[in-house]
């Protein structure tokens, strides 16, 4: 199934009142792809991601995950199907959104235990494995308030991975971190990319986009203005706006 299509977005439209945030966005993500979405703030990057994971309802277009329509030409699947399809994806948020009243262990295990009702022994084993992967096994009994921002985000990545998603979405995962803490989070993300996790990453980290992404999408004013390999986007951008953005952020 390598290189099979995981996610296909077609002509996605979304408005908040009169403001059109997405004006027909289309993209395809294949298994193992790492896609970086860059662009100025307000360009619709986060809305695109939030629509894909069903946190926002779109007004038009289609989202298909592994061939199944979450929304087809603006018409949503049944509530039950939406849940099932959205469960193939997990998301890492800008502000971590860890549950502050739970320990790291409970943050990781609550959904598999409560929602999926999985075997506890397997869940706890997976919890330890994933914490080891993000280098935080020793924090298993800590509360989020006892962790640094970088540690919180690593826990959030582990929590998202606990759901064994087919696709992992990142919404500006390093934007609320102190600069010296972004490295540890990006390292975990690169590690995941190296393990062929399918990822869509909205980011301002051009370094990550350049080194870890297979494809870079440049979004501007609700459309994907340009897409290509990191080399194409960063070295030989076709559009003036892309060039201007990249010059500004590099």
């Amino acid at each position: 199934m390598k290189n099979s299509e995981m996610l296909r977005v077609e002509g996605l439209q979304k408005s908040f009142g009169k403001l059109e945030v997405l004006k027909g966005v289309s993209l395809t993500v294949r298994k193992g792809d790492v896609i970086a979405v860059i662009g100025p703030s307000g360009s619709g990057k986060s809305t695109l991601l939030r629509s894909v994971v069903n946190l926002e309802k779109v007004s038009g277009g289609s989202i298909r995950v592994e061939g199944e329509y979450l929304v087809e030409d603006g018409r949503y699947a049944t509530e039950k199907d939406q849940r099932r399809i959205a469960a193939k994806m997990s998301m890492v948020f800008q502000h971590f959104n860890l549950f502050p009243h739970m320990t790291v262990r409970d943050n990781l295990t609550c959904a598999p235990l409560i929602v999926k009702k999985e075997d506890p022994e397997q869940v706890f084993q997976r919890c330890r494995d994933l914490l080891r992967m993000v280098g935080l096994v020793e924090k298993i009994g800590s509360y989020p308030s006892q962790l640094s921002g970088g540690q919180k985000q690593r826990v959030a990545i582990a929590r998202a991975m606990m759901m064994r998603p087919e696709i992992l979405l990142f919404d500006e995962p390093t934007s609320s971190l102190d600069p010296e803490l972004t490295g540890e989070v990006l390292a975990v993300m690169k590690d995941l990319a190296g393990k062929h996790m399918t990822m869509v990453v909205v980011t301002h980290e051009m370094g990550f986009a350049r080194e870890a992404a297979d494809e870079v999408l440049f979004m501007d004013e609700g459309i994907i203005l340009e897409q290509g390999t990191p080399k194409e986007i960063f070295r030989t951008p076709k559009h003036e706006r892309t060039r201007a953005f990249i010059e500004k952020v590099l």
Binding site: M91, F93, N97, F99, P100, H101, C110, V115, Y143
Partner: protein, 207 residues
């Protein structure tokens, strides 16, 4: 006087026991999606918080038997009338406290729960209510201390609670000692409550 203290304690415990869950239920209605129940609940809370508890006691005990159209149908004994009024009144206050507590839970918590597949019910019971609990503790503590002292109001219905007997003793013996004893009882109760809530706050102090 011991019998009076017992009644005071009973009224206090009974009110808390029923008004806390009822208040939680009311707060859900108050913030719910359905507009008409939401508005009705808003009106209910306004009336319960906007009129004196004393008036409400009079209304339920003396007023309901003369309610136009229901004359003689709703006749409650003193204690049931007092207990019911207290529960309904305190539930309105708790509903507002809980509403504030629920509003303080960050939107991101709901989004994370949703992405992790939590249903609305599980999001409420596992994510929102536990976090609300910590936020509302100080306000609930305050309210329960007020309740201790509000119980003295039922003496106007002729119920034999603590202050009722204290007053009789003072009149009988021409000695204020009984008032002091009553005061000490109220103080002891509020001290115990303060201690209890402090313990709870420490226990739920996860940040």
């Amino acid at each position: 006087m011991l019998a009076g203290a017992k009644l005071t304690l009973f009224l206090f415990c009974f009110t808390l026991l029923f008004s806390l869950p009822l208040g939680l239920l009311f707060s859900f209605v108050r913030i719910g999606r359905r507009r008409i129940p939401r508005t009705i609940m808003g009106g209910y809370i306004w009336v319960m918080r906007g009129t004196p508890l004393l008036l409400q006691l009079f209304f339920v005990y003396y007023g309901l038997p003369f309610l136009p159209g229901f004359e003689g149908l709703i006749v409650l004994d003193r204690l049931p009338a007092a207990s019911l009024t207290f529960v309904l009144n305190y539930a309105a206050y708790f509903a507002e406290i809980f509403r504030g507590g629920i509003a303080s839970v960050d939107r991101g918590q709901y989004e994370a729960a949703r992405v992790l597949g939590f249903s609305r019910y599980k999001t409420a019971t596992k994510i929102v209510i536990p976090q609300m609990f910590k936020v509302v503790l100080p306000a609930v503590s305050n309210e329960s201390i007020t309740l201790v002292k509000d119980t003295a109001l039922v003496t106007v219905l002729g119920l034999g609670e603590l202050l009722h007997f204290a007053k009789i003793a003072v009149n009988r013996d021409s000695n204020v000692a009984a008032f002091a004893v009553a005061a000490i009882f109220y103080l002891a109760m509020t001290a115990a409550l303060t201690g209890l809530f402090q313990k709870l706050e420490t226990r739920y102090n996860y940040e």
